[in-house]
C-alpha cells in the first residue's frame, strides 16, 4: 500500500449562500487545486461527497456535472453518499484508490446546499436517515435522538447543562476566529444559560438540548487534493500524510443498541485509525470532532480515547480542549460554529487539520501541532470514520 498525502485544500465560507451547489463545489475545488499547484490535466479522478442534492436541490449525478464544469473530463468521478459522514467517506475512497496504485492524484470535494429549503424541511431531510419503522414514523429527528442520548449520559456521569454550554461557548469563540465559519460570533455563558433572557436567547430544541447545543443548517463546500506521497515532493506546501484511517458501523436504531450510550462505531473507527498510524491519543495535538450536538463533542472525546469515559466534561471544566489547552478540540469552531453542510463536513474537518498542521490557521492556530485527529459521525453514530493526519 502506498503512502498518501494531502497536498492541497480549500473551502468556501459556510453559511447561507446564494450560489447553487455546483458553484459552491467548484469554488472549493478550484481553491484546493490552486493550493496544490495542480491544473486540470493532473487530476486523475474525482470523488464528490454529497448527502442530499437529489432531495434538497433536485440535482442528481452531482459528480458527473461537476467534472464537466471543472473541465476535468474524462476523469473518473463518483458521488459518495454516506449521510453526514459522506465527506470522510469520499476521502477514504480517494485514499484507497491512491494507496492501491490506481491513481496518483485525486480531487475530493464535499458540499451541501441545505438552505435551499426551509429549516423544517432540512430537519426532515436529515431525519430520513433514521430507522423508518422504529424511529422516523414517530417524528424522530436527529436532535431528538441527541436529546434522548444526552439525558441518559448526563444522568449517568453528572454532566450539567453548563458543560454543554461550555462546548458552545468554546466553539463559538473559535469560530469567531475562522473566516470560513458560518457563525463568526462569540457567545457568553450568561447570554445562553445564566441570565433570565437565556430562555429566549437559547430556547429548547430537544430537551435537554437547546439551540446553542445544536449545529446550524448550512450551505458550503470543502475540498482536498490527495496525492501519492512519493509524488508529493513538488507540491507548493509541505505534505500532510494520512497516517491512519478507520471506519465502523453500528446498529441503525439507536434504542436497539445493547448500551445506547456506547458509541461503538466511534470507538472502532478511532481505534483502527490510531492502529494504522501506530500512534495513540496522547500523540495528538489537535482534534476536529463531529459536534453536531454539544454532547457529541464530549462523548466523542471520550470514545476516541482522549479522556476516560465519563470524564470528557471534566476536561472541559479544566480548559483542556480550548485553543490554548492540552488538546484543542474544534479550533475551527466545529460543526457548532463553522456550520454543518452535511456533505462538506468530513472534508472541512480534514481541511482544518491540514491548515493546523501546516501552521496556516491564523488566529486560531494551535501551537506545535504535528499530529491531528478527526471524527466524522454519520447517522446517530451508525457509520463513523476517523483519520489521523501527520505532518512531515
Amino acid at each position: 500500500m502506498r503512502d498518501v498525502a494531502i497536498i492541497g485544500c480549500g473551502m468556501t465560507k459556510f453559511g447561507r449562500r446564494e450560489e447553487d451547489l455546483l458553484e459552491l463545489l467548484m469554488e472549493a475545488s478550484l481553491a484546493a487545486m490552486k493550493d496544490a499547484g495542480l491544473d486540470h490535466r493532473s487530476v486523475d479522478a474525482v470523488y464528490v461527497a454529497n448527502m442530499g442534492a437529489g432531495i434538497l436541490n433536485y440535482q442528481t449525478g452531482v459528480a458527473s456535472a461537476l467534472v464537466d464544469r471543472l473541465n476535468l473530463l474524462p476523469a473518473p468521478a463518483d458521488t459518495v453518499e454516506n449521510g453526514p459522514a459522506s465527506g470522510a467517506s469520499a476521502i477514504k475512497n480517494a485514499f484507497l484508490a491512491i494507496a492501491s496504485g490506481l491513481y496518483d492524484s485525486v480531487l475530493v470535494v464535499g458540499g451541501e446546499k441545505m438552505r435551499a429549503v426551509t429549516g423544517w424541511e432540512a430537519t426532515d431531510f436529515v431525519a430520513s436517515m433514521t430507522h423508518r419503522q422504529g424511529e422516523y414514523i414517530y417524528g424522530v429527528t436527529l436532535p431528538s435522538l441527541a436529546g434522548m442520548f444526552a439525558r441518559l449520559h448526563m444522568a449517568k456521569y453528572g454532566v450539567k447543562q453548563e458543560h454543554l454550554a461550555m462546548v458552545a461557548v468554546k466553539n463559538h469563540e473559535n469560530g469567531a476566529k475562522n473566516p470560513y465559519a458560518h457563525i463568526q460570533q462569540a457567545v457568553t455563558m450568561e447570554g445562553i444559560l445564566l441570565r433570565p433572557e437565556a430562555v429566549v436567547n437559547n430556547p429548547p430544541i430537544a430537551e435537554p438540548l437547546r439551540m446553542y447545543d445544536c449545529c446550524p443548517v448550512s450551505d458550503g463546500a470543502a475540498a482536498v487534493v490527495l496525492c501519492a506521497a512519493e509524488k508529493a515532493k513538488d507540491a507548493p506546501h509541505p505534505a500532510v500524510h494520512i497516517a491512519g484511517f478507520g471506519q465502523a458501523t453500528d446498529i441503525h436504531a439507536v434504542y436497539q443498541r445493547d448500551d445506547p450510550l456506547d458509541l461503538k462505531a466511534v470507538r472502532g473507527a478511532a481505534k483502527a485509525a490510531f492502529e494504522m498510524a501506530r500512534l495513540c491519543p496522547q500523540d495528538i495535538q489537535v482534534a476536529e470532532l463531529h459536534d453536531a450536538f454539544t454532547i457529541l463533542e464530549i462523548v466523542e472525546s471520550e470514545q476516541a480515547g482522549f479522556f476516560p469515559v465519563g470524564q470528557g466534561h471534566r476536561a472541559l471544566e479544566e480548559g483542556a480542549t480550548r485553543l490554548d489547552g492540552k488538546l484543542p478540540i474544534n479550533p475551527s469552531g466545529g460543526l457548532k460554529a463553522r456550520g454543518h453542510p452535511v456533505g462538506a463536513t468530513g472534508v472541512a474537518q480534514v481541511t482544518e487539520l491540514v491548515w493546523q498542521l501546516r501552521g496556516q490557521a491564523g488566529e486560531r492556530q494551535v501551537s506545535q501541532a504535528v499530529n491531528g485527529f478527526c471524527c466524522n459521525f454519520g447517522g446517530f453514530g451508525n457509520n463513523v470514520l476517523a483519520f489521523v493526519l501527520s505532518r512531515e
Partner: protein, 113 residues
C-alpha cells in the same frame, strides 16, 4: 386494534421490535411472534420543540421504553409529566400522517394514573 409485537429469536431468545430478518445477537433468522409486554420502564425521553413541518403541535414527547424481557421500543409519549424510570404502558395509535397516509405506532402512557 392491532397489537404491537416483539419478535423473539428462536435460536438465542433475544427479542426485537420491529421485526428483523436476522437476529442481532446470533444471526438467527427464525423468530417467534410475541405480544409486547403490557408495561415497560421509560429509559430516556425528550421534549422536542423543533418538529418537522407535518406536525402542527408545538412540541412532541418521544421516549424509549425498555420491557422486562429486554426488548426496547421508541414511541411517542402521551404527556410531558414523565421521568426516567417511570412505568409506561403502550397503546397502538395513529402517530403521524405522511403524504396523507395514516401511520400507526406506539404511544406510551404512564402506567399509574
Amino acid at each position: 386494534m392491532e397489537v404491537p409485537k416483539g419478535y423473539q429469536c428462536k435460536a438465542c431468545g433475544r427479542v426485537f421490535h420491529p421485526k428483523r430478518r436476522f437476529c442481532l445477537g446470533c444471526g438467527g433468522d427464525q423468530f417467534k411472534e410475541l405480544a409486547l409486554e403490557k408495561e415497560g420502564t421509560l429509559l430516556t425521553f425528550t421534549k422536542l420543540h423543533a418538529l418537522t413541518m407535518d406536525f402542527t403541535t408545538r412540541t412532541l414527547m418521544l421516549g424509549i421504553v425498555e420491557y422486562p424481557r429486554g426488548v426496547r421500543a421508541l414511541g411517542q409519549l402521551s404527556t410531558d409529566k414523565v421521568e426516567m424510570g417511570m412505568k409506561m404502558r403502550h397503546r397502538w395509535e395513529k402517530v403521524r400522517e405522511i403524504n396523507g397516509q395514516e401511520i400507526y405506532g406506539l404511544k406510551f402512557y404512564p402506567a399509574s394514573k
